[in-house]
């Protein structure tokens, strides 16, 4: 039993790796998308709108399969056009990180857009009045204050993203879900109820990661809300 459990634990690194990688991609895309949607240029607004609407309108699994199977062929075609023997490999790990990051970037766009809009406009105006450039104002004045508003929704998105990483098992990546499934089938003779035990174990691992990250993010929320007056109920 223990070797099986240990081998499932190895999948933990893969899951966390995919989740954190996707989070970075999603955060970057989210900021870019929010900037596009809030910019004064109509065409940028349109790009941001199309991105967040189309991505959120299709299931994650379909995007994952499209990118994993179709994306590799596309990359190969492009590389061959340039004379390479084959293109860079989109292995399941990269496919998982890029897909999940791309999909959750759309949700992050909404998160950051709402958060940026919540920062009083007067803050930016004060910055501009002092002669700061738009970018500098954004970076030093709006961004730190935006974090406080973004955190609850960001936490939500992170928890959903974490669970979405289970989908990489469908494209064959050896994450917690995949390893639990294989172990459950392989050990069915020697350990009665192996399938249920290993699946429950996998679920427990996800619960642990969720709870831990929830705790950490709540602490971050508290830290970013220092000095904020809250109403009493």
């Amino acid at each position: 039993m223990t070797p099986y459990l240990l081998s499932i634990l190895e999948g933990l690194w893969v899951t966390i790796g995919v989740a954190l990688g996707a989070l970075c991609v999603a955060a970057v895309l989210g900021l870019a998308g929010a900037a596009a949607k809030l910019s004064p240029y109509r065409w940028l607004n349109w790009i941001g709108d199309v991105y967040s609407t189309v991505i959120r309108g299709v299931p994650d699994l379909v995007w994952m399969l499209l990118l994993y199977f179709g994306g590799q062929i596309l990359v190969n075609d492009i590389a061959e056009a340039f004379g390479f023997r084959r293109g860079p490999q989109i292995n399941p790990f990269v496919a998982g990180v890029l897909t999940i990051g791309f999909v959750y970037g759309a949700y992050m766009t909404e998160t950051f857009r709402g958060a940026i809009m919540s920062v009083p406009k007067g803050q930016s105006e004060a910055g501009w009045a002092f002669g700061m450039s738009r970018f500098y104002t954004f970076r030093r004045m709006v961004l730190p204050q935006m974090v406080r508003f973004a955190l609850p929704s960001f936490t939500n998105n992170w928890l959903v993203l974490l669970k979405a990483t289970a989908l990489v098992s469908v494209i064959g990546l050896a994450d917690i879900t995949n390893l639990a499934k294989q172990a459950g089938a392989a050990a069915r003779g020697e350990i009665p109820g192996a399938a249920i035990i290993f699946m429950a174990f996998a679920g427990l691992l996800y619960l642990l990661i969720s709870s831990l990250s929830l705790y950490l993010l709540r602490k971050a929320e508290a830290r970013y809300s220092v000095g904020v007056k809250r109403g009493t109920f």
């Binding site: 954190l20 970075c24 590389a79 990180v97």
Partner: protein, 280 residues
């Protein structure tokens, strides 16, 4: 602010490190027009589906093992190459090969005319028949009509699935395709399926010889020989892309070499003792 940038940077660095570990090396530039004397393959990426005991499976600690895996290692030794095993779900095997995710498939893939339309094969490295597995107590022969009303699980995109869809389903059986053969055994054990269509040796190692499979056996021993040409092909071979002719020749030579020097027999006796899997 500085703290969050730092954290973000650390996460990014960790991710890049993780990415770098699992990504294969960068692509090589186009080979010169006049190829060097003997092509070499420093690393051979081999696709396996490790749910097919005793041919391809994983040990408790997650290491690939089995007849296919050992044959792959022996062949790699023959062509002075290093084997890197890539896990792949069975129904994505050929598409993955065509998309260049790996170089060869050494995972009990049967050589059939249909598959030859998209990929190339070496000669066979073993050949075993398939059979329909049901409860022994039913005392059924191998004819398709016997399985009317039975629910049989098959591996998606396998030759057994082709046979089941082509002969058993028209005869009244219900055929359910699964992602992996060992998931089929889970559902037979639980009672959702009445049996399966599987390779004779694989089903013995993966199911019949285990406590769960004690009440089951191959109906009629094996599927009638007349269906071999249409569905099952001429044995299991190494699948490669059509353009890799040099690799195919090298691997063919390798198969002949390990047959001649006794290594093949040694591996066959290790994984499948007492059965001749070379076949006809």
């Amino acid at each position: 602010m500085r703290l969050s940038l730092l954290t973000l940077g650390l996460i990014g660095a960790a991710t890049l490190a993780a990415c770098g570990k699992s990504e294969p090396p960068a692509p090589t530039a186009a080979a010169p027009a006049a190829a060097p004397a003997a092509p070499t393959w420093p690393e051979l990426r081999v696709a396996i589906d490790p749910t097919y005991k005793p041919f391809t499976y994983k040990t408790e600690s997650g290491e690939p093992a089995g007849f296919d895996v050992d044959i792959a290692k022996a062949l790699c030794e023959q062509i002075n190459s290093k084997c890197a095993f890539v896990e792949q779900a069975w129904d994505g095997m050929i598409p993955g090969l065509l998309a260049k995710k790996y170089d060869v498939i050494i995972s009990s893939m049967s050589i059939t005319d249909e598959r030859k339309q998209s990929v190339d094969f070496t000669g066979k490295y073993y050949n075993t028949p398939s059979c329909v597995v049901v409860k022994t107590a039913l005392n059924l022969g191998a004819e398709a009509a016997n399985f009317k009303g039975k629910k049989l699980g098959v591996l998606k995109a396998s030759t057994q699935e082709k046979y089941a869809m082509g002969e058993l389903q028209p005869a009244g059986a219900t055929v359910v395709p699964y992602d992996a053969q060992d998931q089929v055994y889970l559902d037979i054990k639980s009672g959702r399926l009445d049996g399966t269509v599987a390779d004779v040796v694989e089903v013995r190692g993966g199911f019949l010889s285990t406590p769960d499979g004690a009440a089951y056996s191959c109906a009629g021993g094996r599927i009638p020989v007349e269906f071999d040409a249409k569905y099952f092909g001429t044995g299991a071979g190494v699948a490669l892309r059509k353009e890799d002719t040099a690799l195919r020749d090298a691997l063919d030579a390798g198969i002949k070499a390990i047959r001649d020097n006794g290594k093949w027999k040694e591996l066959a006796d290790k994984h499948v003792p007492g059965i001749d899997i070379w076949g006809s």
